[in-house]
Subunit: 383 residues, 4 copies
Amino acid sequence: MQRKKLRYGMVGGDLNAFIGGVHRAAISFEGKAFLVAGCFNPDQSANRECGEFYQLADDRIYADYKEMAEKESKREDKLDFVTIVTPNFLHYQVAKEFLSKGINVVCEKPLCFELEEAKELEALAKEKGLLFCVTYGYSGFPMVKLAKKLVKDGVIGDIINVNAEYLQEWLIDDIGAGDISTNKLSVWRKDPKVAGISNCVGDIGTHIKHTVSYITGLKLKKIAAKLDYFGQPLDLNANILVELENGASGVFCSSQVCVGHANGLVARIFGTKGAIEWVQEDPNYLKVTLKGQPPQIYNRGMGYVTGRASELNRIPSGHPEGLYEAFANIYKTYINALLKKINGEELSENDLDFPTVSEGAEGVKFIHAVIESNKKQSAWVNL
Amino acid sequence: MQRKKLRYGMVGGDLNAFIGGVHRAAISFEGKAFLVAGCFNPDQSANRECGEFYQLADDRIYADYKEMAEKESKREDKLDFVTIVTPNFLHYQVAKEFLSKGINVVCEKPLCFELEEAKELEALAKEKGLLFCVTYGYSGFPMVKLAKKLVKDGVIGDIINVNAEYLQEWLIDDIGAGDISTNKLSVWRKDPKVAGISNCVGDIGTHIKHTVSYITGLKLKKIAAKLDYFGQPLDLNANILVELENGASGVFCSSQVCVGHANGLVARIFGTKGAIEWVQEDPNYLKVTLKGQPPQIYNRGMGYVTGRASELNRIPSGHPEGLYEAFANIYKTYINALLKKINGEELSENDLDFPTVSEGAEGVKFIHAVIESNKKQSAWVNL
Amino acid sequence: MQRKKLRYGMVGGDLNAFIGGVHRAAISFEGKAFLVAGCFNPDQSANRECGEFYQLADDRIYADYKEMAEKESKREDKLDFVTIVTPNFLHYQVAKEFLSKGINVVCEKPLCFELEEAKELEALAKEKGLLFCVTYGYSGFPMVKLAKKLVKDGVIGDIINVNAEYLQEWLIDDIGAGDISTNKLSVWRKDPKVAGISNCVGDIGTHIKHTVSYITGLKLKKIAAKLDYFGQPLDLNANILVELENGASGVFCSSQVCVGHANGLVARIFGTKGAIEWVQEDPNYLKVTLKGQPPQIYNRGMGYVTGRASELNRIPSGHPEGLYEAFANIYKTYINALLKKINGEELSENDLDFPTVSEGAEGVKFIHAVIESNKKQSAWVNL
Amino acid sequence: MQRKKLRYGMVGGDLNAFIGGVHRAAISFEGKAFLVAGCFNPDQSANRECGEFYQLADDRIYADYKEMAEKESKREDKLDFVTIVTPNFLHYQVAKEFLSKGINVVCEKPLCFELEEAKELEALAKEKGLLFCVTYGYSGFPMVKLAKKLVKDGVIGDIINVNAEYLQEWLIDDIGAGDISTNKLSVWRKDPKVAGISNCVGDIGTHIKHTVSYITGLKLKKIAAKLDYFGQPLDLNANILVELENGASGVFCSSQVCVGHANGLVARIFGTKGAIEWVQEDPNYLKVTLKGQPPQIYNRGMGYVTGRASELNRIPSGHPEGLYEAFANIYKTYINALLKKINGEELSENDLDFPTVSEGAEGVKFIHAVIESNKKQSAWVNL
């Protein structure tokens, strides 16, 4: 019998967490997967409160994620996938645990801290034949899909230069702050034990890297980076020269101390025949310029927007879709792929158009290269 | 015992319908109301398919909305509210049926065709003590809430002029089209039997009216309108002079034949001390200018955004929220109000900050005045 | 012998005047006309100071414009044209004087106060065979020329709707001001003796009318207007329904009390095949949308910009041209036409592409119709 | 006797030249300096045609710039200054010649090719007590002046990061072009003998450098650059990491092959208390964001715009000023300073607010550092 719906569990993301709620709402858009189990918080009161709100069976509100992986893997009505939305430093161990038990995984980025860990997870998913998604949410926006399609179709020719940035302002008060405990909001992002070796590049710089690679279909060949710490243990500002695998040059600028920018992810891709520009804060549009012609402002949902961008369009053009819908698109793709897989259908390339564990591993590699280059006086470091 | 969750039903909105899906996704954001019954389509195959997809109990997939109102009203676990997303011409009769049976109602706009019907529904809801929401979805955007607050707080002084528009292009091919059957997409909007006495003003012009009245807190005193039909039975283009109840002048422009505009609802409100501008296609921002100062671009989610706009904020500033989230805000408010009411709590003005049946009736009145003015050579018609 | 350069005189516009300086700088761009005579100010000290600064011959700094017209008309090296930049109420009499003496005229707008005066000037120029330019400066912008060309070439099809506005904020403090003498800056604009029967519509509303008629090639058939005076003797705010001679509808909004708008002339022209939008505050661009295609942002100076817009382009694309250059374009055209005429060459339609006395007369007619309609409860008034 | 007007000459810039015309028009804005001598083109027919058009005395149309410097220096009514608008490779020798003869110099950028030459010119001007202006035209825009003032006044705190770019598209066809002769338009920019050691960085990258240094008041400490040549003899694309003298980081991106960008000079300056952004293609505005507040869009000419930006404002806010006016501002400042100097008045810092020979020398140093860094695998090179 064909499965039409999936069961999922969640690790992390109690009722007060931000990103957990985004994931749950995103999954609910299609009504094709239901939350049945969870281990939302080491604090058992918060954990139970969340489980009860979602009306989970009592024995599926787990105090411990290992227990959850173990017990769920043995149920007949076990989880089809688990979503991991814990703090960064737990991603690796939680993902590994569920993969080991044969459960498909969706994990927030960064995938993990060490490249070896990333490789291990990648290998484990492959060995077990599981679908592993790393939620680079911005790649779920339809106009990012369109950008990828235009590049692939050769519309802008060969890529010769990229200029991408992710600028925020929310940690500006950390400059000159005496120690990492002064800013409660950001302390866990600045503590290497919790956040890993990088703050700014790890948290948002990786999104630049992913977005550019996703759109262009090109990996990074090498980078040369200069980071600014402003007296803090982890980086707050990064300016990075890059070279893509095809020899194209570019810069990535990532910052959490640029006043005037809330969440300014911008990707500008320049080719021999044209250019495209996508701005996350205005995500329903894509600026496309062909050589010798006026810039064109493509609008999500119009008839001239085709391919994946069209398939994933939800509401008529001019009615804005936002971040929730982008996440919902990633889950829609992942869940449909998983349904097909479970039902024994073959998966096409389009079916698998969600960010994978390999892309997560690429992100980890990028972070390490940037840190290394900065230590070596901005020398080029290969990826 | 305190109720924490609600049960709802839906009339209209099968799996292929656009707006029904938006309503269901919007409701699911908070996880506080569950679909338990429905009458989604007169076509019983489509009706059952939808009910089954949402795993409704067999006896709660109704073939007829009257039967649904009747039977649900007698269940112990009956609907807390019904959402009506049928074609326009059915709104009145369906809403009346459910109100009569004591069930709270959420209804798509336009509320109904005739002012008498609107008054009847308004009275019925009052008599039965029911909460009736008309989903003017755009008023759910946080920055519209902020605009309302700024006006109320006197930040822009007394309102002296308003300039608002709602421009679309999607019916451009109807110009010169031989008869209403040529454009399958829009035929039901152009047929007076189905769409009512107005197409363009009824469908989108009412949103201009609602948005301006909502932000300014001012009703319309009178209007003078010129409509264009381009050979079709219903209007496709409208230019309207308005006067608000405080004597402020303005214009409303509503069109479905303005190429280059997908869904261009824009409200510009001018006061003696300042001005505000909100653009639906870029809804996370509000342009606020105080006399003698540079324009400021307020950004959803920032610390300086307070009041309802802050309460309804979902994700950090710079992460775009779109139409789904605006609808979700309306449902969040409505559902919380209903929960409070059911649980015997008192409702504050903020609790009731969702578009009501009275606002729906105002919309109907506006449509009739516009049609009348156009027939009278754009003479002023009082509302 | 071929003339290569022209001699001009000026009435009004001493060293402290704003618009006089713009005219002189605009004329100097091409180096084809030189100031040789003037009557800059009734105050003789200011008058002489200005004449001396420009190194005029002593006997060509005139105390009286009548004397100037008389004496200049008799010189062998007489003026080829005079530029009139006096306060509005003097335009008619000064223009008439110079025309009578056979001297070509460039006059600031509004041409005059009464339609009969306008007709008289028009007839006089025709009778004398003189070139008469009324400086509607905005029509000198290359992208306005391109807009006109695109409409003429049928690119956007038949015009069906226009939406144009000219919003300023600089008289906001006049609202509630006790009498017209409180605001020194604007007093002469609010005094009917000096400014004529209208302030806001006369000063800026006429630019909307001219811009729309220039771009579309269509005259106004009728208008229905509502004006706001806010207790002042002349209008400060105007909302106007319009119908063009081809039956297209539209609105013109003109205001000097809209906070947040410095000099917001915007023309949006909608046709059956496309639409164009031009924004004076960002004048080097033209937004052009063809039905079913993404909006395109045409950029002045690019290869795809042809016709008059290309001929009048001065510097490479991306280097902004502003109001001075727009005025310079009008003078360039006028001076070249006058040179051709003087040299006995034939004048093409393009040669005469500057705003004429007939367009000035149209503007006067428009002002009167608006005032009349407002007095008649916004009844339609034919032009 | 007080001098009120100046005499100037020009080397280069015949009637067909682009930038020469801009300089002449810019000078004519104020009417305070008159062209009296020139050596416009080695082609004597073009040379005479230009001189005659400007009605120069026959003996002041020079065939040779050395002769011009020599003869003019001996006249009683000699040049007060000369403007040099020749191809780049001639700047040094022409400037040297006129300085040697005691004539003040205005020179297009780049000042020269070699740092030693720059130092020599700087020393010579100092020794002779002459005013030497290098026309970095963009620094004449009022809003650039305002940016500088805001930084100086501490409004945005300490500078911590800069992100600036100058993107053009006009040489895109050079990519893959067989040799430098294929594109007539750009051949002289790609020939090292004529253009110097750099094309893209020399022509436009230096404007980034100058704009950032001018606004921040900070010199560059070091740079790390990656250039792209795409098979051509000189660079077409540059991505550069920078460090300012106060330790702030940043990137400069300069390109002539970025489709979609006509003349995209953009400077974004980030400080500990705020940020400013200026966009050359929209030069009448300045985006200013203070920490924790909404971005503000400052508009040229408004009351809140003070200092030099206000002094140099020409026309009311909302009437766009462009590149000509920016150049005119530089000349206005230079000419007024020269008049004061000639008249024996003291010069304030504001009087000398035009780009100097020292700034020209800084530009030459920057170009050499960038070329060196690129050769050394993007190693940091000190300035």
